[in-house]
């Protein structure tokens, strides 16, 4: 039927985000509750599951254009938009936002995790109050994709980063009301929203419930209209289905790749043979069947099709060592490599597998250790507290690490530069291959999608063959809502971009 | 002998045993006696011979397990106490029959004020206000010669001296003016002047109320001064019973005889005290492995073959003087 106005959407939240400033966070714990407060220049269509270039629509921008040999991206801005505190929105706000992201302004973010996204941006220029241009060093078609991410809201100039962390002001469909750490986050309808008739909801209330079982039980008991998006694991999904058969549930990939980070700067994994053997020993299907009861995806760096835009086709994937269907044959090969490196049935290699003390990290690590046993590697789990994890990795104080890499947008630029370029802060393995890096730039500048795909596949294959950072699988998770909740779309190739909630309504 | 109607307490063939892991312990074995109104019956005997257990049996307070009254009857003012249910017995305890326990230190509740403990005893059986009860309590403390009774009433047992504690016990036991008072060594912790006062007090109250008194004591002097009749116990059995005069004049059991001889005397002027006291050699036998015959035989100078084989029955040797000895008539002469 026709959307109805009104109602407060009750949702639980999986944990308490550190602050309320999307730009200072790197977790969708922040995006989910605070995306509704903001608008981007452009955004992925919120009612389509797959994020694609051609799905990007203007938001605070009315239109955009690539000019100057594709080196300048110019936006025409919407007029008459007001910040939640009543101040008008202008191009200055856009400039402020991105200057700050590039670290060029007086005021600084406490942390600025996506600074690298704007590496190719020279500067931002404005032309009057309602036109703004991004001037690039070289063409980068996927900049638009990055700008369409839920991670890229426009911030007001007149509010300090500190205030944005505690009381965010945006132009979005919902206004921030309050955030009680560990307790709740409340948003209310922005009656002055520039988009007529939106949002439908009177407000959104998040109750923070870190304990999953309690949260799911509460959902089943009808205390919530919706689960936290993508937080229902496959086993729990069965549970929800059996207890609340009417609930609507979807299972989608969330573009988080579980991978092994290998310390190739120190023995034994400085030996490519051992790295290869390890890659060959992986039984990806087993991981998926244990973790997702079969509902996960095998792939390379990029999320595999059909949900992923850039993943290698199956045939190509199976040519990569370790991806072949015959696990035993792979392992035989792996054993040979191990023997070549001097290990065998009576000389096992002892390694430590470090990982964070969170089930989604720990569980695959346990499986990994078990699988490594088949090739003379005795793994021992080394659980590291989150607080110490990154510094440990950064110190290279590990042998193998089991890691999760989430991709904000399904775009190679974001993924490759961040994780595989020499010297990138998130390139934990210090993998550095100048040739491949050149290929990164080539694909980045390619405007023809089909050609670019080819390039990306080749890069991805090479990365896997080099055992740079073996990808084990791409996770899938579920989200559920009560049948009367309408207009929810869970993105199928990203878990960061689909939470504007201006189209959501309740049929009650 | 007193008339039937005057009988306050009649104990018949009382048997109390302890079931212990080392065997059956016959603490009280076939003991009978009666107490009439206003009469004082003294029970004497070697320590450990079952005097306290007898008293506890009368109150039905023998710890169970391991103890159990396994036979006989206890009739108080016509009711068989052993047949009462626990609630009925409660109404009797502390009211019609009350007891002064042997060890005042541990018999008083350490966390309750003395006064409150007496008040409780009074209010359990009498329907009066706590204020009245309190004044009765203070009055009782005064009666037992506790100085500054009002203040002492507010003190805790550990703040009193041993004698005062004992007096507090007495006050508690007498608070309800019972028909039968069992006093288990009530004055051992007192000095003689106070002992005289207390005994006089107990006897006064006894006379006034017609209370029957069972007095358990070691002090034969006290027995001589207070009791009308005496029971002598040995190893759980009554071995002799007589009026006090008869007993002191001519004991008919060698054990009694030995006791008498052991009494030290305050030296009267001019008479030098004997260096050593007479004593009965040997010790009380274990109550588990009692000899077949007379339990006293191994320590007895008069013992004959028969004593070891056969337990002598309690026989009346004239004038209600009962004694359980084959050679009762020779006892006085031998000595």
């Amino acid at each position: 039927g026709a959307p109805k106005q009104g109602g407060i959407l009750r949702m639980y939240h999986r944990d308490s985000p550190g602050n309320a400033s999307i730009h200072e966070g790197a977790t969708y714990s922040l995006n989910v509750p605070f995306m509704p407060v903001f608008n981007n220049l452009v955004i992925y269509k919120q009612d389509e599951a797959q994020n694609r270039m051609d799905n990007i629509i203007p938001e605070l921008a009315e239109s955009w254009a690539w000019v100057n040999d594709n080196k300048t991206l110019t936006f025409k801005l919407r007029q008459g938009v007001k910040w939640h505190d009543g101040k008008p929105f202008t191009s200055a706000d856009v400039k402020c936002t991105f200057d700050m992201l590039m670290g060029k302004s007086q005021q600084k973010f406490r942390q600025n995790p996506r600074k690298t996204w704007y590496e190719q941006v020279n500067d931002i220029s404005t032309n009057g109050d309602f036109e703004v241009s991004f001037n690039l060093k070289r063409p980068q078609p996927s900049l638009l994709a990055l700008l369409a991410s839920g991670y890229t809201p426009v911030y007001p100039c007149h509010v300090s980063p500190g205030d944005m962390r505690t009381h965010p002001i945006g132009t979005g469909p919902f206004k921030f009301v309050e955030f009680k750490a560990n307790e709740s986050i409340k948003l209310t309808r922005n009656t002055d929203y520039w988009r007529e008739g939106r949002p439908y909801l009177d407000g959104i209330e998040f109750t923070i419930i870190p304990n999953r079982s309690t949260a799911i039980l509460a959902f089943v008991a009808g205390k919530f209209d919706m689960t936290f998006p993508t937080e229902v694991s496959i086993p729990l999904l069965k549970d929800v289905k059996s207890q609340a058969p009417n609930a609507v549930c979807v299972v989608e990939p969330n573009n988080v790749a579980t991978n092994i980070i290998v310390n190739s700067s120190a023995p034994p994994f400085d030996n490519i043979d051992i790295r290869r053997a390890m890659a060959l020993a992986l039984d990806r299907k087993a991981f998926i069947s244990i973790m997702f009861e079969g509902q996960g995806d095998v792939g390379g760096t990029m999320l595999p099709p059909p949900n992923g835009l850039w993943g290698m086709p199956k045939e190509m994937l199976e040519t990569i060592p370790g991806y072949g269907p015959d696990v035993n044959a792979n392992r035989e090969e792996a054993k040979k490599l191990m023997q070549k490196a001097g290990y065998g049935p009576d000389k096992h290699l002892a390694v430590k597998v470090s990982t964070r003390n969170i089930p989604v990290y720990r569980d695959p690590a346990v499986i990994l250790i078990d699988q490594l046993k088949s090739i003379y590697i005795d793994g021992e789990l080394d659980v590291v507290e989150t607080a110490n994890w990154f510094s440990k990795i950064a110190r290279k104080d590990y042998m193998l690490g089991l890691n999760l890499t989430g991709n904000a947008v399904d775009d190679p630029d974001q993924s490759f530069y961040e994780n595989y370029s020499c010297g990138s802060e998130r390139n934990y393995t210090n993998y550095c291959n100048k040739e491949i890096e050149k290929l990164f730039d080539v694909q980045s500048q390619e405007t023809d999608i089909a050609k670019r795909k080819k390039l990306v596949w080749d890069i991805d294959k090479k990365l896997q063959e080099d055992v740079a950072r073996p990808i084990i699988f791409h996770a899938r998770t579920g989200s559920c809502w009560q049948p009367y909740v309408k207009g929810v779309t869970i993105m199928s190739n990203s878990s960061y971009n689909g939470y504007r909630y201006e189209d959501v309504w309740m049929d009650k | 002998m007193a008339q039937k109607s005057d009988i306050v307490l009649e104990v018949k063939n009382l048997k109390t045993v302890f079931f212990t892991n080392s065997g059956l312990f016959k603490a009280v074995d076939d003991v009978s006696f009666t107490v009439t109104r206003g009469e004082t019956l003294a029970i004497v005997g070697e320590s450990g011979c079952g005097k306290s257990v007898t008293a506890l049996s009368l109150m039905r307070l023998v710890p169970d397990p391991p103890g159990r009254i396994v036979g006989g009857s206890v009739t108080l003012e016509g009711t068989d106490l052993l047949a009462l249910d626990e609630a009925q017995m409660r109404a009797v305890r502390g009211n019609r029959i009350s007891m002064i326990f042997q060890e005042p230190m541990t018999s008083l509740n350490p966390v309750m004020r003395i006064g409150d403990q007496i008040v409780e005893a009074v209010r359990l059986h009498r329907n009066i206000s706590s204020k009245e009860a309190r004044s009765i309590a203070v009055e009782m403390l005064r009666l037992v010669r506790i100085p500054e009774p009002a203040r002492r009433a507010k003190e805790y047992p550990h703040q009193l001296s041993g004698g005062m504690r004992q007096r507090a016990m007495i006050a508690m036991a007498l608070a309800c003016r019972p028909a039968l008072l069992i006093a288990d060594e009530p004055t051992t912790a007192l000095d003689v002047t106070i002992q005289a006062q207390i005994l006089a007090l107990i006897l006064d109250l006894q006379k006034e109320l017609g209370t029957g008194l069972v007095l358990i004591t070691h002090d034969l002097g006290v027995v001589a001064q207070t009791a009308q009749r005496v029971i002598v116990m040995y190893a759980g059995r009554k071995v002799e019973e007589a009026s006090v005069e008869a007993l002191f004049a001519a004991p008919k059991h060698p054990y009694t005889r030995g006791l008498m001889a052991s009494i030290p005397a305050v030296p009267a002027s001019g008479v030098p005290a004997p260096a050593r006291l007479n004593e009965i050699p040997g010790t009380v036998p274990s109550l588990v492995r009692l000899p077949q015959g007379c339990a006293f035989a191994p320590r007895c100078k008069l013992a004959i073959k028969r004593c070891e084989a056969e337990y002598p029955p309690l026989a009346d040797w004239g004038g209600g003087h009962l004694a359980a000895c084959w050679r009762a008539e020779e006892v006085a002469e031998v000595a």
């Binding site: 999953r212 059996s242 346990v366 250790i369 659980v383 | 079931f19």
Partner: protein, 297 residues
């Protein structure tokens, strides 16, 4: 008067039970629950010792093919989501859970007794200082300590044991101290002093045995609760790390996801924990009764 069967009564009092075995048997009959507790504890300890022989599968081997199998003849208690045999994991888990339980109780208990005795017996300044220290320990909540320990040292078995043992110290020492304070005033302590016993010896010979009853109750209760504490720590992700099967973690992690879909994952570790705690406590109660001389009749 109902007839009294002397033999039965004597038997009940244990008069027939002379000599070693008969005595033990008698005690077992007299304290049925305690005997049950002892049997349970013994079984668990044996299980822990001979885990390698009892377990039918390797507790760590992952097998996706048999994941989440229901209890069958092959897998008596089913398998977990990794396809690991739950029975084998529980058998091996006994080692860890008992190590935590016994280890931390023994550690915390011993220190607690020493502190409590010294503190209560010597009183005065020693008492004040010890009590302040135990105040400090007590004011640091268990989980704060555990968090800090695991963060600083990594979550390992010894660290978990220490982290759980520390908060036991003030608990035990306070109970012991309270008892000691009362006992110190007892005449038999004075008597011991009068024969020239050293304070230390009085504390050990006279005061300690008289605090044994509460101590045993407390220790066995704590033995159980430390196993539970480990479970709680696991629930918070701070217990013994994967893949070693501590009961607490088996329970706490399955509880969330599988309580309805694969209940055997939750039921069996739960039963193991409860049984162990139960056994320890039952045994403790009985031991308390047996050690009380006044109960011996």
């Amino acid at each position: 008067m109902a007839a009294i069967d002397f033999d039965v009564e004597l038997r009940r009092a244990g008069a027939h039970a002379t000599g070693g075995w008969r005595r033990v048997l008698f005690m077992a009959q007299r304290h049925v629950l305690g005997a049950a507790g002892l049997v349970i504890m013994t079984l668990f300890v044996l299980t822990a010792i001979f885990a390698d022989f009892i377990a039918r599968y390797d507790p760590l081997t992952v097998d996706s093919a048999r994941a989440l199998a229901r209890p069958t003849l092959a897998h008596w208690m089913g398998t977990d989501s990794f396809g690991r045999d739950v029975f084998s994991r529980i058998i091996h888990g006994a080692r860890i859970s008992l190590a935590v339980g016994i280890g931390s109780t023994a550690l915390g208990g011993t220190i607690g007794v020493i502190v409590g005795l010294t503190s209560g017996y010597l009183s005065g300044w020693v008492d004040l200082v010890f009590q302040r220290v135990s105040d400090v320990l007590q004011a640091l909540p268990l989980l704060v300590l555990a968090l800090i320990m695991t963060a600083a040292l990594g979550p390992s078995l010894p660290n978990v044991i220490i982290a759980i043992a520390i908060p036991l110290i003030p608990t035990v020492s306070r109970v012991i101290r309270a008892n000691t304070l009362a006992l110190r005033e007892q005449p038999f302590v004075e008597a011991a002093k009068s024969i020239g016993m050293s304070e230390m010896r009085i504390a050990l010979r006279h005061v300690l045995p008289n605090t044994l009853a509460p101590l045993i109750v407390l220790a066995t209760a704590q033995l159980g609760s430390t196993i539970l504490t480990e479970a709680s720590l696991s629930f918070l992700g701070l217990g013994i790390p994967e893949p070693y099967p501590s009961w607490g973690r088996m329970l706490s992690e399955s509880a969330a996801e599988y309580v309805r879909t694969a209940p055997w994952l939750v039921i069996f570790p739960g039963i193991a924990i409860s049984l162990a705690v139960f056994g320890a406590n039952l045994f403790g109660d009985a031991l308390r009764d047996i050690l009380d001389p006044r109960q011996r009749g």
